[in-house]
């Protein structure tokens, strides 16, 4: 390979790398999901609307409305100071209840309702054995005893 073609090849690789970097940057810029609390989301104002967000906080006690026929779920997520109304479709996870930590993924609409595409109950990702005396299984003992198969 002579010097001229070597520089030509280097230049071509350089152009490719820059093009690739630009693509990646554009892709990341429009697809990064920010993890925000209700307070932070509200503080974003105009920039907080209609962009993908992961909203984290607690389910505000007393705010849950669940229509099991229409599979419609409405509740509010709070972080103590801020509060955002959330609407989602589909059955909530089993552990979903008042005061439970949740992570809701979706977009905040201009109607000030956060439309959720996925609802997760927040729990420690690391597996932990329950504390002494804590028996999660007991809760389900009463379950459908009469039903049987």
């Amino acid at each position: 390979m002579n010097k001229k073609t070597k520089w030509g090849a280097l230049a071509a690789v350089g152009v490719l790398v820059i093009a690739f970097g630009w693509l990646i940057y554009g892709g990341l810029d429009s697809n990064v999901v920010y993890f925000l609390t209700p307070k932070e989301l509200a503080a974003k104002g105009e920039k907080g609307f209609d962009v993908p967000v992961r909203l984290g906080g607690q389910v505000k006690p007393g705010s849950v409305k669940w229509d099991e026929k229409a599979l419609d779920l409405s509740f509010a997520v709070t972080d103590g100071t801020g509060e955002i109304a959330v609407h989602s479709h589909g059955a909530p996870p089993q552990m979903f209840k008042d005061g439970q930590g949740v992570v809701v993924e979706g977009r905040y609409g201009r109607d000030l309702v956060f439309q959720s595409t996925s609802l997760m109950v927040k729990h420690s990702n690391e597996y932990k054995a329950p504390a002494k005396g804590e028996r999660p299984a007991e809760m389900y003992k009463s379950l459908m005893k009469s039903q049987g198969t």
Partner: protein
């Protein structure tokens, strides 16, 4: 007692690997080749010691010896024995023990199969393997020690993570992954050996490494597919790939290794790309360690990540050492890595391989950057972000479509010279099949351009690769008058590597069809049903019969009996469940899948009324998803074809004299 045996075995193994590794360069530099048998012995001894340690830990688990910290952490008397045994890899410390065992096994096998080879390549490769083993022994005696004493000894333990004891694939996916991941150490070690011994200029070491790389690649491929399957069967969301950081961690080295398997053919044929191949090999190994760092340091959260304190620093240190030392080695050998051939014609197989390598490399960087970006963003800007599926899909789908196209073009292009008139005949089958698949996709309702292209190119690649078998067999029938099936089997036996590759391509086509169809035509619906009520998704009707509760030894199970209807007749009964483990706050979903050749009916129990009067179920129609798993088997079959010795090699091996081939 068990504890002491297991932990002392690791301590002795640490000393043995260190001594063996130091001895190798001393022996070579002093010209005392007879000493090398001691460093080979160190490899075997290490394997024996790690085996003792692993078996002791398994025995500790099975015998519920809660005085061992790892057993106290993951064991439980109520867990079935199968899940007790496989909890060996259910948490950090045990998984490192298993890793060390697999590495010990590979090292022993490498040395055993190459013990008679002349030259310094194998001793130096053995040294590299010993050094990697040494790192894992340090982990086992430091931050990942499973053999700490527990006092007072508890009577029972919490059992493994419920997610990890809910499905039989937990016994399949992790070992395959370790065999693939750890297996990448072998080609890396050979690369180090080649650079240290100066044999890097000869192609002999590349031929020696080929089969080992293919073994590791085959296991890694199988592991990735098995992991997708596990995720599909267990997690209950109806998907098989979420671009989760840990999935990415297994996929990134697979990309570089797949690139290597192709570009190495250019080196063997044309003497080109030597430096590039070396970098791919070293890079693949470093990426496996990086992947382990991501999954084992707790730096990201995921179902696979085990949070731990300081182990991340050990991994970062190790990565730095490996990168720095190999960089020095590559720089020192760069004069021997020049290209012998050059690209002669733009439309040749070399060009297809070059493009394939470029796309795979871009793909690798895309996934790597997307995976690491949240870490960087948090470090640099202090914001918590995640990079979601849209980014990965947007970037990777065009690449995958282009690669499908190349998979059809590559095999029909000739080496070196530009394509001639015979190309037209070779392309006919692919073009016809491609158009057919594309039209079927359109008729089925695909409107996304990439989806239609993906169907088209999948058909094209299928036609081109199957065409190679048909043309080859036909030629034999004409030349030797054999029957067609005999001709086909002799054709494949004559060049297992080449046709193994085409078989793998056909497997990839099946996977691509499954992924494209399920991504395009998947339909899901969730509904709350009372007993006797039914729902219909994409023409498939399911009826809710009743809900029930069952007590099992280690868990309670709530289930819904669902009937899949064929008109008014019940064609099958499935029971999606939720499993409640006494030690877990969260129930583990246990979806049920009813497979047909055209797709799966996927049922997941989402919620239920305590009195059983209604349940909420999600029903998903997943077209062609079983093809993905079947395609995985086909790919592995292709890899096995490429690994088996050819008739010529077998003849050489059984010949009485003549040394290594």
């Amino acid at each position: 007692m068990i504890r002491l045996i297991a932990s002392n075995a690791i301590l002795v193994a640490l000393v043995v690997t260190a001594l063996g590794a130091i001895l190798t360069p001393v022996a070579i530099l002093r010209g005392r080749r007879d000493w090398l048998s001691f460093s080979f012995a160190a490899v075997y001894t290490n394997f024996a010691l790690v085996t003792v340690s692993t078996l002791a830990l398994v025995w500790g688990l099975v015998s519920h010896d809660f005085s061992i910290s790892y057993v106290a952490q993951v064991g439980s008397r109520a867990t079935p024995t199968f899940y007790t045994i496989i909890s060996l890899w259910g948490a950090l410390e045990g998984s490192i023990v298993f890793w060390a065992w697999v590495l010990g096994m590979y090292a022993a096998a490498v040395v055993w199969f190459n013990r008679k080879r002349e030259g310094n390549l194998v001793p130096y490769a053995a040294m590299a393997l010993l050094l990697v083993a040494l790192f894992f022994h340090i982990l086992l005696l430091g931050p990942a020690n499973p053999f700490q004493a527990v006092f007072p000894v508890p009577f029972d333990g919490p059992g493994p993570n419920p997610l990890l004891q809910n499905h039989i694939l937990m016994g399949v996916h992790p070992p395959l992954l370790y065999l693939g991941y750890v297996g990448m150490t072998v080609p890396f070690a050979f690369a180090v050996g080649a650079m240290l011994s100066g044999e890097v200029a000869s192609d002999d070491w590349i031929r020696l490494t080929r089969r080992w790389t293919l073994v590791a690649w085959g296991f890694l491929t199988a592991a990735i597919i098995a992991g997708m399957w596990w995720s599909y069967e267990v997690l209950g969301w109806g998907g098989y790939w979420a671009w989760d950081p840990v999935e990415n961690a297994s996929f990134i080295p697979w990309l570089t290794c797949t690139a290597y398997l192709h570009s190495v053919m250019v080196q063997e044929r044309r003497g080109m790309l030597k430096l590039w191949n070396l970098n791919l090999m070293v890079g693949t190994f470093v990426l496996t360690i990086l992947g382990t760092f991501l999954t084992r340091s707790g730096i990201i959260s995921s179902v696979h990540a085990f949070t731990q304190g300081t182990i991340g620093y050990y991994f970062l240190g190790f990565i730095a050492v490996v990168l720095l030392s190999t960089l020095i080695l590559v720089a020192g050998n760069s004069d021997k890595l020049g290209s012998e051939g050059k690209l002669d014609a733009p439309l040749s197989r070399e060009t297809a391989f070059l493009l394939q390598n470029m796309f795979f490399t871009v793909f690798m960087f895309t996934v790597l950057i997307g995976t690491l970006f949240p870490l960087v963003a948090e470090l640099v800007r202090g914001v918590k972000v995640s990079v979601g599926t849209p980014f990965f899909n947007k970037m990777s789908i065009p690449l995958m479509v282009a690669l499908l196209f190349l998979m059809g073009v590559g095999p029909v292009l000739p080496w070196r010279k530009g394509a001639g008139p015979e190309l037209k005949g070779k392309l006919t089958a692919g073009v016809v099949l491609g158009l057919l698949f594309g039209v079927v996709g359109l008729v089925m309702g695909a409107r996304n351009a990439y989806a239609v292209l993906s169907f088209t190119f999948a058909g094209f690649a299928l036609g081109a690769n199957v065409g190679e078998f048909v043309r080859g067999a036909n030629a034999r029938v004409r030349a030797h008058g054999e029957s067609w099936l005999v001709a086909l089997s002799r054709l494949v036996a004559g060049n297992r590597r080449r046709f193994g590759g085409y078989v793998a391509h056909i497997g990839v086509v099946l996977v691509a069809l499954g992924v494209t169809a399920s991504g395009t035509f998947k339909k899901e619906q969730e509904a709350t049903l009372t007993p006797g009520q039914s729902m219909t998704v994409s023409g498939h009707t399911v009826r809710f019969k009743n809900a029930w509760l069952r007590e099992e030894k280690q868990r309670q199970v709530v289930g819904a009996t669902m009937e899949i209807m064929d008109g008014t007749r019940v064609s099958a009964t499935v029971e999606p469940r939720m499993n409640y483990y006494p030690t877990s706050q969260q129930p583990v979903p246990t979806p049920q899948v009813k497979s047909t050749w055209s797709g799966d009916i996927y049922l997941n129990l989402m919620a239920f009324k305590q009195d059983g009067s209604n349940v909420t179920v999600k029903v998903i129609w997943e077209p062609l998803v079983p093809w993905i798993w079947f395609g995985g088997f086909v790919i592995c079959f292709g890899a096995i074809l490429g690994i088996l010795p050819t008739r010529r090699e077998a003849a050489v091996a059984s010949a009485p004299a003549g040394g290594t081939p």
